[in-house]
């Protein structure tokens, strides 16, 4: 069983760390994992993306071109990658910023106002963790416990941010599982 993720947004939206936490959580659950950033002549404020693979098998190429799961945090990412999602796959879109105009019939689409939800929690920069919480609920690829443990590994020495990150994860999970917290924040 192999799940391939492509996580995309603009620089500063935290897609790289979103990918790292997800990858680390997979490792803590004993799976084969890889994380691979796009690299190239980038500019501040430009788009960034990373590939994450979580598998029960040894991982071949770590670059994901046809994701099972796409996260699009901003409009250019959605425009660029919506066509790449594998038929039957899932797209999670930050609906605070992306207006989905062209829907695909052959994939699942979840629109989550991640930026607004993070703003509601008092920190815009937690939008990535809101989305990760949603991914836990939508895919079940890793458990929430592992994700929370992974936070400590990925951000050592930043304990003051852990509580806020955990709250954002819970918010995202509640949003997709229809918990009360999500309704209140929506």
């Amino acid at each position: 069983m192999t799940r391939e993720f492509l996580l995309a947004g603009f620089g500063g939206q935290g897609v790289m760390s979103l990918g790292m936490v997800l990858t680390y959580a997979g490792m803590l659950e004993g799976r084969q994992v890889s994380w691979m950033p796009s690299y190239g002549p980038e500019q501040r404020g430009g788009t960034a993306n990373c590939s994450v693979i979580i598998s029960t098998e040894p991982i071949g190429c770590p670059v994901v071109t046809e994701p099972d799961v796409l996260v699009a945090m901003n409009p250019p990412s959605w425009e660029r990658f919506c066509g790449a999602v594998r038929p039957g796959g899932l797209a999670v879109v930050n609906s605070s910023m992306v207006k989905v105009s062209r829907a695909r019939e052959d994939i699942r689409l979840t629109q989550i106002p991640a930026t607004s939800l993070a703003e509601g929690l008092g920190n815009l920069r937690m939008a990535n963790m809101v989305v990760l919480g949603a991914l836990v609920g939508l895919t079940g690829v890793v458990g929430m416990d592992s994700v929370k443990k992974a936070l400590d590994k990925v951000f050592p020495g930043r304990e003051h941010l852990v509580a806020a990150n955990r709250a954002a994860l819970d918010k995202g999970l509640a949003w997709v599982t229809g918990g009360a917290a999500a309704g209140a924040a929506g």
């Binding site: 990858t23 490792m27 994992v33 691979m36 690299y39 040894p58 071949g60 190429c61 770590p62 071109t65």
Partner: protein
């Protein structure tokens, strides 16, 4: 979990490397960045040199003084280091050179490539010499091979190259580090450490008498023969019953392995030979194939290792090639298509014979 570039740095420190000299170039910058931070913590020396030529000559100096020394770069930068690597080999100085290969020729691009195979495996600079060359395929292997590279460099008193690319350098994977190298660095009585109380050591590659230079070169060649006998390494995956043998190293081997799984599920008898040493090239496993009817070499180049594959099979099997170049990474889907095409031809041939 660590990025491949950083993992090389930590592995070098485990191996006892305390001298790093480099000049920035993508996609290997995390390695010097890591060394700049870590080496002072362990009493080491990091210098960002004014050029690649300066960096490799600083390695020459540190190695001559008996230190475990390293430099890293990417293709155009490694071209600049070739003069120094030739001098190091001539002077029998150990060092480790990392090349995170990018698309060339010229400045080329910064995306992954394997087009420095010829340069790496044929010495690279001028003169009669070779270097042991490792091609890693995972972050863990970057760790293991970095440590082994220092060991082998000291054992043979010769530069050792570690080849990877931007994917392996940039990607994060879990990796385990040993606490110490398997063997302590050997004594280096030849090093220039101050001659008080002993005859002086001289490190020099200028030998003007042809007969003396010839003797020196044959002695070096004897050492390279030993490396060929002792150090060749590879990994086999389902070669026993394979009718089609794919040869690929590094990142490309990972792509091929993904395609191999799909091909096997369709009942095709395909196997993979993954060279771990690029020089010496693992010819032996290709010479003892029993059921193979064709070989396919897959590379991120226009065809370089394929020449070693052809030399190894010596015309006994047809050798096909599939390559992407310029920074384009082949997909498992493309490789699978090529495998199926060749498998189809083999089936037709077999049918024709009946």
């Amino acid at each position: 979990m660590m990025k491949g570039n950083e993992a090389i740095g930590e592995a070098a420190i485990v191996a006892g490397c305390r001298c790093f000299f480099g000049y920035p170039i993508t996609p290997q910058n995390e390695l010097p960045e890591y060394m700049a931070r870590r080496l002072p913590e362990v009493g080491g020396v990091f210098v960002q040199a004014e050029s690649e030529v300066a960096a490799i000559n600083m390695v020459y100096g540190a190695a001559a003084a008996g230190a475990r020394a390293m430099t890293s770069s990417s293709s155009p930068g490694v071209s600049l280091k070739q003069e120094g690597i030739s001098y190091l080999s001539a002077c029998e100085l150990p060092c480790v050179v990392v090349n995170m290969v990018r698309g060339g020729p010229g400045l080329g691009g910064i995306q992954p490539a394997q087009s420095d195979y010829f340069q790496a495996t044929r010495g690279g600079g001028h003169g009669d010499y070779r270097t042991l060359v490792y091609g890693a395929a995972s972050v863990q292997e970057l760790v293991d091979l970095t440590i082994e590279a220092f060991d082998a460099a000291d054992r043979y008193r010769n530069p050792v190259l570690l080849l990877a690319d931007g994917i392996l350098g940039q990607m994060m994977e879990p990796a385990v580090f040993p606490d110490s190298p398997p063997l302590p660095p050997p004594a280096k009585p030849w090093a220039v450490t101050g001659a008080s109380g002993r005859p002086r050591n001289l490190i020099n590659s200028l030998i003007l008498q042809p007969d003396m230079l010839e003797a020196h070169n044959w002695r070096l060649m004897e050492k390279f023969r030993q490396i060929e006998e002792r150090e060749v390494r590879w990994e086999e995956d389902q070669l026993d019953d394979a009718e089609l043998v794919v040869v690929a190293y590094g990142t490309t081997a990972r792509v091929v392995r993904a395609a191999l799984g799909a091909a096997r599920r369709e009942g095709l008898k395909v196997g993979l030979l993954r060279p771990i040493t690029l020089w010496p090239f693992p010819a032996q496993p290709l010479r003892r194939l029993k059921r193979a009817r064709a070989v396919l070499t897959v590379e991120m180049s226009t065809g370089q290792m394929v020449e070693d594959v052809r030399l190894a099979v010596e015309g006994r099997l047809p050798v096909q090639f599939y390559g992407r170049t310029g920074g384009v990474v082949p997909t498992p889907r493309e490789v699978l298509a090529r495998i199926k095409e060749i498998a189809g031809e083999l089936a037709q041939e077999a049918g024709g014979r009946k």
